[in-house]
């Protein structure tokens, strides 16, 4: 009986076992771990309790203050200092100060710090994003991160896999965001609980890395432990360019693929040729319907950014829609590139100018309003359409506010009309 890509990566990292099966508990070697300004302070507090003088490896830990930085208030500033002090004291190579910082799940692949075949854990639920590289990547908590920083290993239960097969030809304005929302609608928010989602099919083979990251990013929204896409030429081209540019210490990656006779808990086939762009309505990411069903929904705020859709092709798509258009007088548009490199590229390509000329704001990279932190917190009764990943009650601010999730083109078109809009209707 064959192995899935997930099982192969876990087996390659598991200590003391020669074979592996779903539901086995393993202790596995971790290639890279990371935390942010919310999760790392607790991890550091727990790590210090061990009284260890060294971390397991100074080059395999990332500390990324991306959630509330530049500091939104004094308490956030205090949390950021915990990361910085720890990085200095323990010689953590991959600490990213504001100005070099970006959203962790966009920044780490961009820097070539997570590569195919890796086993990665991050103290952030959207760590599953990195599965787009053909790596096993999963979110853990702060105490888990402390343990990994100390010992370089982590316990796992080997997940069963669900295979999603996407076939057909996507229509204009349909991208990775729509496909993953389609799958979450089908699976439900707990449909993939404890399982890995393996994303396959000819649509995916033709997708850019940006679209692949978007899809793996939201695997957690179906409850999944990880999302993964088998590495191919697109992956390799991306990874090689990252390695060339940033010369990370680890440069040799491993490409894994699922065996023909690998066993899946479930296989779902989706022909997406007729799929319209989708929108997830409040208050669950599975509450998904075609954009055409939301025509009368007025929006106070539009957010384009986040670890889900804050990469350069996302901003490009939004800029195409917004070119020579004005944002509705009663709507605010907030565009947040995911990293400094995305920011610089958006300026170079003229996207930033388009956003500002349209009447939107173009902000410094961070998680921003996605989790109601800062830079666009909603008031009671306000409605937002956002390219982010969650629309739970109170996610973006007041518990009486409303968040709709969509792709960057829909978000941009909605900014122009001041209500949820398909770009073709502009």
């Amino acid at each position: 009986m064959g192995y899935t890509i997930t099982e192969k990566i876990l087996l390659a990292h598991a200590r003391g076992v020669k074979k592996i099966a779903p539901n086995d508990f393993i202790m596995a070697k971790v290639d890279f771990c990371f935390g942010n300004d919310i999760t790392a302070p607790i991890a550091i507090r727990e790590f210090r309790k061990l009284g260890k003088k060294k971390v397991f490896n100074q080059n395999r830990i990332g500390l990324i203050p991306d959630h509330f930085l530049p500091a939104k208030d004094m308490k956030s500033a205090n949390q950021a200092v915990v990361l910085k002090d720890f990085a200095r004291e323990y010689g953590i190579a991959n600490y990213f100060e504001v100005g070099r910082m970006g959203i962790e799940h966009a920044l780490l692949p961009e820097r070539g710090l997570i590569i195919p075949g890796d086993l990665t854990v991050g103290a952030d639920s959207h760590t599953c994003t990195h599965g787009a590289l053909g790596a096993f990547a999963t979110g853990v908590g702060s105490t888990d991160l402390a343990y990994v920083m100390a010992f370089g290993e982590c316990w796992f239960r080997v997940p069963e896999s669900i295979k999603l097969v996407f076939t057909g030809r996507p229509r204009k304005w349909v991208g990775g965001k729509d496909l993953i929302l389609h799958a979450i609608r089908d699976l439900g928010v707990s449909g993939a609980l404890y399982r890995s989602i393996e994303i396959t099919g000819d649509v995916i083979e033709n997708f850019s890395m940006d679209d692949r990251f978007t899809m793996c990013n939201m695997a957690i929204e179906a409850g999944a432990k990880s999302g993964i896409i088998a590495p191919d030429k697109t992956t390799e081209r991306y990874v090689r360019s990252r390695i060339r540019e940033h010369k990370p210490l680890r440069q040799s990656y491993r490409l894994y693929r699922s065996d023909e006779d690998a066993v899946y808990a479930d296989i779902r086939k989706y022909n997406i040729s007729r799929l319209e762009p989708l929108v997830a309505a409040p208050h669950l990411p599975s509450n998904v319907k075609p954009v055409s069903e939301f025509k009368d929904v007025k929006v106070d705020q539009v957010v384009i950014g986040s670890c889900t859709n804050g990469r350069i092709s996302d901003l490009k798509q939004a800029s195409v829609v917004l070119k020579n258009k004005k944002v509705n007088p009663h709507t605010r548009l907030i565009v947040i590139p995911a990293t400094q490199a995305v920011y610089a590229e958006a300026v170079k390509q003229g996207y930033a100018e388009i956003f500002v000329a349209s009447g939107g704001v173009f902000c410094t990279p961070n998680c921003g309003p996605c989790l109601g932190g800062h830079m666009g917190v909603l008031s009671e009764g306000e409605v937002a359409i956002s390219t982010t990943n969650r629309n739970f009650v109170g996610r973006m601010g007041h518990p009486g506010s409303f968040v709709y999730l969509a792709n960057p083109a829909i978000a941009a078109a909605s900014a122009v009309k001041g209500k949820i809009t398909h770009p073709s209707d502009l």
Partner: protein, 167 residues
């Protein structure tokens, strides 16, 4: 170990933004987090909860973010145990790692009602009504695999780690 308390009942898909909203994540102080526990789901929860009380919930409890602030807030609020039909996996890990007793128990989660007085036998993985309402009915909870039991017995992952001889 036996835990006694009243039941606070919740539905399906209680997410971590509901357990502890992100606006309070600029601190990791347990006492501070406890004050806002469940604030957007049940605004009076933090006031009503008494030491030892329990959360009984539906499917996918703790879905969403990886914030350990969620189980920390619950534990610091005085909750002695969480029982749900199912848990989101990161929340489940986090609860184990910080030493908050947590059990999946479908039948118990269906049957127990808001305000019920119950007793949980942690070692046996059982819950039953206690006090005047005692019925004798015992609900079996899902037991932990041996691997995890070691962590729980140690009182959390860090205490487990301290026992390791590794340097």
């Amino acid at each position: 170990m036996k835990l006694k308390g009243r039941v606070f009942k919740f539905g399906d898909d209680i997410d971590t933004d509901g357990i502890i909203p992100a606006r309070y994540l600029n601190t990791s102080d347990p006492e501070e987090l406890a004050k806002h526990c469940m604030e957007d789901v049940a605004p009076d929860f933090a006031k009503k909860i008494k030491q030892g009380d329990m959360i009984i919930a539906g499917e996918n409890f703790g879905c969403g973010s990886s914030r350990e602030h969620a189980p920390i807030a619950i534990k610091a609020a005085g909750v002695s145990c969480v029982i749900a039909k199912s848990f989101a996996r990161i929340f489940y890990r986090n609860a184990i790692n910080i030493g908050l007793p947590i059990f999946a128990g479908r039948e118990a989660a269906e049957a127990l009602k808001q305000g019920d007085r119950v007793e949980v036998n942690v070692d046996r993985g059982e819950v039953a009504m206690s006090g005047k309402a005692k019925t004798g009915k015992v609900y079996i909870l899902e037991n932990f695999p041996g691997f995890i039991r070691e962590i729980i017995k140690s009182g959390g992952l860090m205490r487990y780690a301290k026992k390791r001889k590794k340097t």
